[in-house]
Assembly symmetry: C2
Homo-oligomer: 112 residues x 2
Amino acid sequence: MSTEQLDRTFAALADPTRRAILSRLALGESSVKDLARPFAMTAPAVTKHLKVLEHAGLIQRSRTAQWRPCSLNAEPLKEASAWIEEYRKFWEQSFDRLDAYLTEIQNKEKQL
Amino acid sequence: MSTEQLDRTFAALADPTRRAILSRLALGESSVKDLARPFAMTAPAVTKHLKVLEHAGLIQRSRTAQWRPCSLNAEPLKEASAWIEEYRKFWEQSFDRLDAYLTEIQNKEKQL
DNA sequence: CGGTTAATTAACTGATAAGTGAATTAAGCA
DNA sequence: TGCTTAATTCACTTATCAGTTAATTAACCG
């Protein structure tokens, strides 16, 4: 679990355009032009986003004639998810505290 | 699930110093000075990282005399994790493919 | 009150990121 | 071969980010 890989993965996910591209690719392979269509953005801008995603290992590219379709590779997300999951116990603790608090409130209200 | 919130959460997690700060805070509350100690970094730099984490809602701050201790708030991570988990089926698919491949290899080796 | 410690703000530098338009590569097709 | 389409690279602008030092705020303590 390399630090640089986590850096790249999280940085790639920090941009809403790139998250949208990944969502689109979850539905299937797509060309750059089709990926660019929903965004108010030129083709070179999309190419740059794809480079970021590729460098993070989140997509891979092939070649068919003059098209260079992209497809999703979700594996690096596993690592990112694993990092986050280490802290799940903390938010679960806070949910437990919230539950306890709500129960306490309800009991008090019943007593009034 | 706001886009800007996800932007801020993932951007906050993209920096190794900030991830280390969160790890440290998982062990308990800490002052800025103690957080800064393990890093080759001045106090103002740490203050800036804390602002990023606070803006993302990942930490909260209190005040005791001249100390302003930080504590973890892992709740926004839940949202980030939920986003990632949507793609779990893709990386599970690649594991399945890897399993199939390894099984195939083993069978071939047995035949030799 | 004056001094010390914790932390922040202010002002600045250098690097990186997101976007643009223009030119270029690469493939398919008449 | 020449034209069209897909995508990229190039050169540039603008904005943001990570870090610095120096100055400032805030609280405690003798």
